[in-house]
């Protein structure tokens, strides 16, 4: 019973997903479109507060469970780290639900399938955060990505959507194969799939031997694919561009956050003794990733594609903090804080494209954003806030996140990486602000496609834009929470 209490949030989300399927089958399409978002919202909100209502340790606290313990005979672990990521994933799913309804109706996407796959993917991501065993983490990663392949292709009659789904599926399957192969090597070397036992075994056997390095390389590549680290990023632009926009918004943040949860748990936590030597590899990957993402984003004229490449650049920033694991808890806290901030602002930025009605799934070109500020002042303001936050200009959460990332990077001795990061932010400013220029400093073109204002979309964007600014001004509690959450993974030496 205690096992079930421990995974109450995951269970609630799963039950909600099941309920969505049943209700969708019972109701007509029109009624389903109206009631399903409500059911999903209620389910997610309950799941969000579940750790505060029921704790497997008996100590219920505002931010959920504080203790740490193994469940399901050690396959699952619930600690502050788990709770942080649970909250992130639930919030992202909630956001992706609230911005979607108008779009789904307009594009005739079956709402039941959209919400159900979204929820299943969320459960998968949450499972990654729970995992303390290679098998559980693999299960979680697959449960997360397979529904996302479906989400990418959910607009069956759109060929870009089809292309996106197929590309994503093939490359995703490939990366999963690499990952599981790496896990197999690791099992071969250490004789266990449990993180804690892997750590002990690696400590005893030493690190610099062929099989361990192979295992490490394969796992890095496999997780690198999921997080879209250059050079394993090729699927990202097409998949993000082709998928329906609300799905893009979700898949640009949740799988990435889950991949980083896995990287932290497996590579930094589980293979802890290795992490220090492996960190230069991460540092180089981080530098390449952020630079490549930004440089390619510079020349994009399609906003959705530009945001896709920019999300690669943000992977690079987060990876820089992972590389700085030697700096201790502050590095882990920086990763978590950045993941939270990135989720909020990137999902918001993609969701702002939902105002623009276009044929097919592809995003708006820069020209279509001309004069957006006059046509939809509120949406433009929210978009501008997200973009300024993505650039890293205060007073937004994106700035604090950048500050927090630079700090462990310098502390770990990667001064060159910190400078590259800063210069990259300048590159990014160029293309992010170009969108603001289009919205505020150009007049709308004649015959520009009509906008699709939706109250629910505006409200959710408004709330999250406000959160971006407020967390930029008073970031302390979020940072404190991220610090607490990072402690199980990275303790100060």
């Amino acid at each position: 019973m205690n096992d079930l209490v421990a995974i109450a949030p995951e269970l609630i989300v799963t039950i909600t997903a099941g309920a969505v399927i049943v209700v969708d089958a019972v109701l007509s399409r029109r009624n389903a479109a109206r009631w399903l978002p409500l059911i999903v919202t209620v389910g997610l909100v309950v799941a969000l507060f579940a750790p505060m209502l029921w704790s497997p340790y008996g100590n219920v606290q505002p931010l959920g469970v504080r203790g740490s313990g193994a469940f399901f005979s050690g396959y699952v672990n619930v600690d502050t780290f788990t709770n942080f990521f649970r909250t992130v994933f639930i919030l992202l799913a909630l956001f992706a639900t609230l911005v979607a309804p108008t779009y789904l109706t307009r594009k005739q996407v079956p709402p039941g399938e959209y919400y159900a796959t979204l929820l299943f993917s969320t459960v998968g991501a949450m499972t990654v955060a729970l995992a303390t065993d290679l098998i559980t983490v693999f299960l979680g990663l697959e449960l997360m990505t397979i529904p996302v392949y479906v989400l990418a292709g959910i607009q069956r009659k759109d060929r870009f959507s089809n292309e996106a789904a197929l590309k994503y599926f093939l490359l995703g399957a490939f990366s999963s194969a690499l990952l599981v192969y790496g896990f197999a090597w690791l099992f071969g070397v250490t004789g266990s799939t449990r993180y804690s036992e892997i750590t002990t075994s690696l400590k005893a056997s030493g690190l610099a031997n062929g099989p361990t390095i192979i295992a490490l390389a394969l796992i890095t590549v496999g997780l690198g694919f999921k997080a879209a680290v250059v050079p394993f990023h090729q699927w990202t632009p097409d998949a993000y561009d082709g998928a329906p926009t609300p799905a893009t918004a979700f898949m640009s943040v949740a799988p990435k956050a889950a991949a980083f949860a896995a990287i932290l748990r497996v590579l930094v936590g589980g293979m802890g003794p290795l992490a220090v030597e492996w960190s230069s590899v991460f540092a180089v990957l981080a530098a390449i990733t952020m630079t490549a993402g930004n440089v390619v984003a510079l020349v994009q004229t399609n906003t959705k594609r530009m945001l896709a490449y920019s999300s690669i650049a943000h992977t690079g920033y987060i990876l820089a903090a992972v590389a700085a694991a030697a700096a201790g808890t502050s590095a882990g806290a920086a990763v978590l804080f950045y993941v939270f901030a990135y989720g909020l602002m990137n999902l918001g930025a993609f969701a702002c494209l939902l105002y623009i009605d276009l044929e097919g799934t592809r995003g708006a070109t820069l020209d279509e954003l001309n004069g957006f500020a006059k046509r939809e002042p509120f949406g433009a303001l929210a978009f501008a806030v997200f973009l300024i936050s993505l650039t890293g200009i205060p007073p937004t959460v994106g700035f604090v996140a950048k500050f927090l990332v630079i700090q462990p990077v310098l502390d770990a001795g990667f001064a060159w990486l910190a400078v590259i990061l800063a210069l990259n932010a300048v590159l990014a400013a160029f293309y992010y602000l170009r969108v603001v220029v289009r919205m505020y400093m150009y007049d709308a073109e004649r015959g520009a496609p009509a906008l699709i204002p939706s109250r629910l979309l505006s409200v959710s964007l408004g709330v999250s834009a406000l959160a971006v600014v407020l967390l930029g001004i008073i970031p302390n509690s979020l940072y404190q929470w991220a610090l607490d959450a990072a402690r199980p993974i990275l303790n100060n030496p």
Partner: protein
């Protein structure tokens, strides 16, 4: 009258003004009134702040502290000393004048948004001058960026988008490198758990900063300030931004934003990194002299009136860096006075170029001429500001430049010595007379042109904008002593910190 928390109030009032501005966003008249009242209250409050300041003390006053990000040792920490206390009223005065002038019809579209951008900008500008925590300073430094970006980009001239992006990218490149420097300072400030970014605490431990650390971090800070200032060769964004900005934007850009660079050097770079200062000092002095000569030379050949004033700013700001880095009292006091003077005089010059452009729609010098015949009032004001800008004794420009040159002559810590660089910089003063008087002659005198006859002289609002600037120009020129008395104690302290890397300040 004493008001508690006066600095915090100064930061809050413009934000409070945003609320009625949002409420009346559909009504241009009300929006203008809200903005005028808000900036006026802010101006009065900054004068109250100045009155509460105790002259003769070197340390920070009116200090307020609160935890902000306690887990990182970051604080909300504000205070003023002799160097910053005059820059704050300068900022609020120029903002008030900009808002007042813009209400007179210079801005026609999206007035409420324009005023909102100005109020946000004011928070950033005042914040830069009162921040005593590096994190807070950085936030304020960047907060100035976005509103100015919008002001140039939305209400600017024909090439506004190119100019505003160039302005932002240049500034951001500098400040992000500074951010890395700030984090480096934070990491160097102590073991984990006791790190800080508060200036007084950093000053107490700065003698632990190793030499190569100071070398790099000074470079990181210096780059941001050099771009903002702007120092040669980082000045290329300035002419573009100035020419395309609306008049009010130019006034604030030249009057206040550039000062953030010079102020940053004095407040943070010099006292925190004395060894770095010594290493980089020759480079900066040479670049300052180049800026003075280059700015003046380029101004001489400008065809566009606004560009001429913009390039003259490069030269004038060269005096500021020169004065700061000769590391003596004359130079330092001269530099701070030069910042104030440049704020009032160049702000006024941009105001008058703007007024003239509003009436004639011409900015090319060759198209103008004979305006003195129709505009006696305008000519008098403009002439006085031109004379102040070229450094005529009796007006304020003279005092600052004279002190800076005096300081340079006495300085010997640079290759070839101050007696080489001082006279070289003095040539800049002569060149300033050349280009300014030549411009004034071509624009105001010469044959009267018929199509300018019907244009009216200064309106009452424009006179109200110009009078306080003129009064200060004359006052600071004739009796600079009270201002020097305010500046000097704090400046002495900064210089002592910069000259003696081992001197320790006690933390209160």
């Amino acid at each position: 009258m004493t008001i508690d928390h006066v600095l915090t109030l100064l930061l809050v009032i413009p934000l409070v003004g945003l609320v009625p501005l949002y409420v009346f966003r559909g009504d241009p008249r009300a929006a203008k009134q809200v903005a005028i009242v808000t900036t006026l209250v802010e101006l009065v409050l900054s004068l109250v702040m100045l009155a509460q300041f105790k002259v003769g003390e070197a340390d920070f006053q009116l200090v307020e502290k609160a935890d902000w990000l306690p887990s990182l040792g970051i604080r909300y920490f504000v205070g003023v000393d002799g160097i910053s206390v005059l820059l704050v009223p300068m900022t609020t005065l120029l903002t008030f004048i900009s808002v007042l002038y813009s209400s007179g019809g210079a801005i026609k579209e999206r007035i409420a948004s324009f005023m909102a951008a100005f109020l946000l900008l004011e928070v950033g500008m005042v914040g830069v001058f009162v921040s005593l925590d590096l994190f807070l300073f950085y936030v304020m430094f960047e907060l100035m960026l976005v509103p100015m970006y919008l002001i140039i980009g939305i209400w600017g001239g024909t090439r506004r988008i190119y100019s505003t992006l160039k302005f932002v990218i240049f500034t951001l490149a500098g400040s992000l490198v500074m951010l890395v420097g700030i984090v480096a300072v934070w990491l160097e400030s102590g073991p984990e758990g006791s790190r800080t970014l508060s200036l007084p605490e950093l000053l107490a431990i700065r003698n632990h900063f190793p030499t190569d650390f100071q070398f790099w971090v000074f470079l990181a800070f210096g780059l941001a300030f050099a771009i903002k200032l702007p120092m040669f060769p980082f000045h290329t964004w300035l002419p573009d931004a100035h020419v395309e900005a609306p008049t009010a934007g130019s006034i604030i850009l030249a009057g206040v934003l550039l000062k953030a660079g010079g102020y940053g050097f004095l407040r943070f770079a010099l006292p925190l990194f004395p060894i770095g200062t010594q290493i980089w000092l020759p480079v900066i002095i040479v670049l300052s002299v180049i800026a003075i000569l280059y700015g003046a030379a380029v101004s001489t050949v400008q065809k566009d009136l606004k560009k001429l004033v913009a390039y003259s700013s490069v030269a004038h700001m060269g005096f500021v860096t020169l004065g700061i880095f000769v590391l003596n009292v004359q130079g330092g006091v001269g530099a701070v006075l030069q910042m104030l003077n440049h704020g009032f005089v160049t702000g006024a010059l941009f105001l008058f170029v703007g007024i003239q452009y509003e009436k004639t729609h011409r900015r090319v010098i060759a198209d103008l001429g004979g305006l003195a015949n129709h505009w006696p009032l305008y000519t008098t004001f403009f002439g006085l500001f031109v004379l102040a800008s070229l450094g005529l004794p009796g007006l304020n420009g003279f005092v600052g430049e004279f002190l800076v040159l005096l300081g340079t002559f006495q300085f010997s810590g640079v290759p070839l010595g101050g007696l080489f660089w001082g006279p070289l910089a003095a040539i800049g003063v002569i060149l300033a007379a050349v280009y300014l008087l030549w411009m004034f002659g071509r624009v105001m005198y010469g044959p009267a042109r018929d199509h300018y006859k019907a244009l009216p002289d200064l309106s009452p609002i424009e006179v109200i904008c110009a009078v306080p600037l003129l009064v200060l120009t004359v006052l600071l020129g004739v009796v600079p002593q009270p201002a020097i008395a305010i500046i000097q104690p704090s400046l002495d302290r900064v210089l002592k910190l910069a000259l003696d890397p081992t001197w320790q300040v006690a933390v209160k």
